[in-house]
C-alpha cells in the first residue's frame, strides 16, 4: 500500500489534475520511522511517524475499549511542515495569500462521512476542500496497522462565490457530504455548500498509454516530418493515481442556505433541503429539480419555523423526514401528493413546563435527524438531548438521553458566546444499538440503547500518553469535584465536536475536533 501524503501540498491545483505521488511503501520503512538512504522523512500523515501509539480506553458501552487509531491533520498544516523539503512545494504554498490564521479557519472540518462499505472516509472543511481517506488494507505482517486510514484523495470541491445580483458572498464551506453506493470501480459522492450541490467522481488510474505517434513522452507535439515509423500506443502500468472530477453541478435551486442532502434508496434521486424548501433531484438532470416541500409563508412576517435537517428513509424510496426549528419532525410520503406540505406523520413531544426557560425555543431546535439503519427509528439531536423516536409513535420519543444537561443553567452565557446556536450531529452504529454525539471540551458521548449505559470520551492529544489507558471523562456538576472530574466552568467551549461518523459495520468512529480528525477503534476488533 503506497502512501499518498506527498501530494498534499498540491491541493490547490485544479481538481481534475493528477493528484498523487508516493513517498514510501510499506516495505522500506525503518522502525524509527525514517526511510532508508536518507530520503525525505515521512509526512505526519503516515502512520509510522507522528501519531501516538495505540491507546486503550474503557467504555461503558459493553463493546470493549476504544483505541486511538490515528490523528490526522489538515493538509495546510502538513504542507507547512514539508516546506523545507521541496522548492516547488514552497512556491506553490507561498503563491496563495493565506496567512496562518486564515488557513486555520479554513481547515476546520465541517462534515465527516463514511462510505457504504466503510473503506473510505470523506471530510469536508470550511475552505471548500474534500479530503478522502482510505482504510489500510489488512496484511499479515502489519496487523497493528489494520484499521488505519490514510489520505486517498484531496480536491477543492467548492470555491467562494459572489452573487452579484444580491451582493452576497456564498461561502465555500462544505456543509454535507453524502456517498453514493458503489456501482462500478469509481466512487461517487455528493458535496454541497450553501447554494450548490456537486457530484464528484473519484477514480483510480494505474495505467497510462505510451507510444503516441504525434506526441512525445512529455506530451509535446512532434514535428510530423520527424516521424519515420508508426507504432501502436500501449497501456503501461504506472504509479497509482487518484483523480476527482466533477460530474454534475446542481446549482441555482435554493434561495436559502442548504443544510442537508440525502441520497434516496433508489439511487437515482436525492434531495437537498434549505431553510424553507426541499428539492428533489435526479442525478442525471442538473437544470431542473422538483420542489417537494415548501414551508415559506406568503407573508414572511408570519415565519415561525424553518427546516433544519432532512433525510430519506433507508429502504422506502417514497418516505423522508424533515426536522424543524420548533423541535418537530414530519414524515412525508411522496406518493400522497407532489407537494408534500401535508405530512403523513408528525412527531412532537409536549414541552415539559418545568423546563421552560427563556431560551426554551432555541434549545428545542433540532440540529440533526438520522434514520436508524433498520429504518424503524429516527434519532434527533437538539441542543441538550438526543431522542430516539419510533416511527409508529408520534406523541413522544421512546428514548431521551441527556448529553450535557449541566449546561441548562448556563444557557444565558452560552447565548452570549453564541454556543447556543451550535448544531451538533448524531450517528447510529451499524447495528443501531449505540448512538453517539458530540459535546464541548472535545468530549463526545456514546449511549448504549440496550444496556442504558453511557460514556464520555475526549478527543484530544494533550491527555493521551503513549500506552496509557484513556479513562472515560466525567463532568462534575456539584460542589465537590473528584480527582479526575472536570468542572463545568473549566470546560472549553471553543473546542466542540459537532461532526462524528461511525463505520457502517465495524466499531470504528471518526471524530472531527476543529481541524483534527481522530479515528478510534474498538480494541476487541
Amino acid at each position: 500500500m503506497k502512501c499518498f501524503s506527498r501530494y498534499l501540498p498540491y491541493i490547490f491545483r485544479p481538481a481534475n489534475t493528477i493528484l498523487s505521488s508516493s513517498c514510501h511503501t510499506e516495505a522500506n520503512v525503518l522502525p524509527s520511522g525514517l526511510l532508508p538512504s536518507g530520503q525525505n522523512k515521512l509526512g505526519p500523515w503516515c502512520s509510522p511517524t507522528g501519531s501516538p501509539a495505540p491507546l486503550s480506553c474503557e467504555t461503558g458501552c459493553g463493546e470493549g475499549s476504544w483505541i486511538l487509531v490515528c490523528r490526522l491533520l489538515v493538509p495546510t498544516q502538513v504542507s507547512l511542515l514539508s516546506m523545507e523539503e521541496d522548492i516547488d512545494t514552497r512556491k506553490i504554498n507561498n503563491s496563495f495569500l493565506r496567512d496562518h490564521s486564515y488557513a486555520t479557519e479554513a481547515d476546520i472540518i465541517s462534515t465527516v462521512e463514511f462510505n457504504h462499505t466503510g473503506e473510505l472516509l470523506a471530510t469536508g472543511d470550511k475552505g471548500g476542500r474534500v479530503v478522502i481517506f482510505q482504510r489500510e488494507q489488512e496484511s499479515k505482517n502489519q496487523i497493528h496497522r489494520r484499521g488505519e486510514y490514510n489520505v486517498y484523495s484531496t480536491f477543492q470541491s467548492h470555491e467562494p462565490e459572489f452573487d452579484y445580483l444580491k451582493s452576497l458572498e456564498i461561502e465555500e464551506k462544505i456543509n454535507k457530504i453524502r456517498w453514493l453506493p458503489q456501482q462500478n470501480a469509481a466512487y461517487f459522492l455528493l458535496s454541497t455548500n450553501d447554494k450548490t450541490v456537486k457530484l464528484w467522481k473519484v477514480s483510480e488510474r494505474d495505467k497510462r498509454p505510451e507510444g503516441y505517434n504525434l506526441k512525445d513522452e512529455e506530451g509535446r507535439l512532434r514535428d510530423p516530418a520527424t516521424i519515420t515509423t508508426l507504432r501502436v500506443p500501449v497501456l503501461r502500468p504506472m504509479d497509482l493515481m487518484v483523480e476527482a472530477t466533477p460530474r454534475r453541478v446542481f446549482a441555482n435551486a435554493h434561495t436559502y442556505h442548504i443544510n442537508s442532502i440525502s441520497v434516496n434508496s433508489d439511487y437515482e434521486t436525492y434531495m437537498s433541503a434549505d431553510d424553507l424548501r426541499i428539492n428533489l433531484w435526479n442525478f442525471e438532470i442538473t437544470n431542473q429539480s422538483f420542489n417537494i416541500v415548501d414551508i415559506k409563508p406568503a407573508n414572511m412576517e408570519e415565519l415561525t419555523e424553518v427546516i433544519t435537517a432532512a433525510e430519506f428513509h433507508p429502504h422506502h424510496c417514497n418516505t423522508f423526514v424533515y426536522s424543524s426549528s420548533k423541535g418537530t419532525i414530519r414524515l412525508c410520503d411522496m406518493r400522497a401528493s407532489a407537494l408534500c406540505d401535508r405530512h403523513t406523520k408528525f412527531f412532537e413531544e409536549p414541552e415539559d413546563p418545568s423546563n421552560r426557560s427563556f431560551f426554551s425555543e432555541i434549545i428545542s431546535s433540532i440540529s440533526d435527524v438520522k434514520f436508524s439503519h433498520s429504518g424503524r427509528y429516527i434519532m434527533t439531536r437538539d441542543y441538550l438531548t438526543v431522542k430516539v423516536w419510533d416511527l409508529n409513535m408520534e406523541n413522544r420519543p421512546i428514548e431521551t438521553y441527556q448529553v450535557h444537561d449541566y449546561l441548562r443553567s448556563k444557557l444565558c452565557s452560552l447565548y452570549e458566546n453564541d454556543c447556543i446556536f451550535d448544531k451538533f450531529e448524531c450517528v447510529w452504529n451499524g447495528s443501531d444499538s449505540v448512538i453517539m454525539t458530540g459535546s464541548y471540551n472535545n468530549f463526545f458521548r456514546m449511549f448504549d440503547r440496550n444496556t442504558k449505559r453511557d460514556v464520555t470520551l475526549e478527543a484530544s492529544r494533550e491527555n493521551s500518553k503513549p500506552r496509557a489507558i484513556l479513562k472515560p471523562r466525567k463532568v462534575c456538576v456539584g460542589g465537590k469535584r473528584r480527582k479526575d472530574e472536570i468542572s463545568v466552568d473549566s470546560l472549553d467551549f471553543s473546542k466542540k465536536i459537532l461532526h462524528t461518523a461511525w463505520h457502517p459495520s465495524e466499531n470504528i468512529i471518526a471524530v472531527a475536533a476543529t481541524n483534527n480528525l481522530y479515528i478510534f477503534q474498538d480494541k476487541v476488533n
Binding site: 445580483l165 444580491k166 406568503a298 412576517e301 426549528s325
Partner: protein
C-alpha cells in the same frame, strides 16, 4: 428590577447579534435570525410583564415613576408605525397583532379583550385624552434623545438604510420594511408639544432602545 435589567440586556445583545449577523460571510442566516428574534420577543415580553408587575401596586399613585412613560411609548410608537405603514403593507393581519393582544391582556389597566389593532389605538388615544401630558413624553423629545445617543439605534438606522439592495434579493421585504419604519420613526412629526420628561429620568439608552427594539423585533420577523 433585576429581571427588567436582565431582559433589557438580552434584548440589546440580541439586536447587536442580529446586526452583526448581516456582516457575516454568506449573508443573513434565516434560522439564526429567527432564533434571535424569538429571544428578543421573549425578552421583551418578560421585560414588559416585569414592568407591569412593578406598575400594578402604583397604578393608583400619580405617575411620577419612570415606568409609566416607558410603558406607554412602546405602544404609541407601534401604533404610529402601524398607521404609517398600514397603507404600504398588505392588509393581512400581522402576527404581531395577535401577539400584542396577550400582552395587552396582561396589563390590568387594559383588560378588556378588544381586537388588537383597535385596542392599540384606543390605548394611545386614552393616554392622550385622560392622562397627564407628563405621562407621555412626546415623540419628538424621544427622537431627539435618540439622535443624541451615539448607540446602536442611529448607527443601525444609518447602516440599514444605505444598502437596501443588499438585502433586496434574498429578503425583499426586509429592506423595504426597515426603510419605511426607520424613516417613519425619524420623520414623523410630534403629536404633542414637547413636555418635560418625567422627574425620574430613565437613562437615555433605555427609552429610545425600547422603541427601537420594538420596531426591530417586528422588522426582523418581517424578513
Amino acid at each position: 428590577m433585576e429581571v427588567q435589567k436582565e431582559a433589557q440586556r438580552i434584548m440589546t445583545l440580541s439586536v447587536w447579534k442580529m446586526y452583526h449577523s448581516r456582516m457575516q460571510r454568506g449573508g443573513l442566516r434565516l434560522h439564526r435570525s429567527l432564533q434571535l428574534s424569538l429571544v428578543m420577543r421573549s425578552a421583551r415580553e418578560l421585560y414588559l410583564s416585569a414592568k407591569v408587575e412593578a406598575l400594578e401596586p402604583e397604578v393608583s399613585l400619580p405617575p411620577a415613576c419612570p415606568s409609566d412613560p416607558r410603558l406607554h411609548p412602546p405602544r404609541e410608537v407601534e401604533s404610529t408605525v402601524e398607521t404609517a405603514t398600514a397603507d404600504g403593507e398588505q392588509p393581512s393581519p400581522e402576527p404581531m397583532d395577535t401577539q400584542e393582544a396577550p400582552t395587552a391582556e396582561e396589563i390590568p389597566a387594559y383588560s378588556a379583550p378588544r381586537p388588537a389593532k383597535v385596542s392599540r389605538k384606543r390605548r394611545s388615544s386614552s393616554l392622550r385624552d385622560g392622562g397627564d401630558a407628563g405621562l407621555v413624553p412626546s415623540k419628538k423629545a424621544r427622537l431627539e434623545e435618540k439622535e443624541e445617543e451615539e448607540g446602536l439605534s442611529s448607527e443601525v438606522a444609518d447602516r440599514l438604510q444605505p444598502p437596501p439592495a443588499q438585502a433586496e434579493g434574498a429578503f425583499p421585504n426586509l429592506a423595504r420594511v426597515l426603510q419605511r419604519r426607520f424613516s417613519g420613526l425619524l420623520n414623523c412629526s410630534p403629536a404633542a408639544p414637547p413636555t418635560a420628561p418625567p422627574a425620574c429620568e430613565a437613562k437615555p439608552a433605555c427609552r429610545p432602545a425600547d422603541s427601537m427594539l420594538n420596531v426591530l423585533v417586528r422588522t426582523v420577523v418581517a424578513f
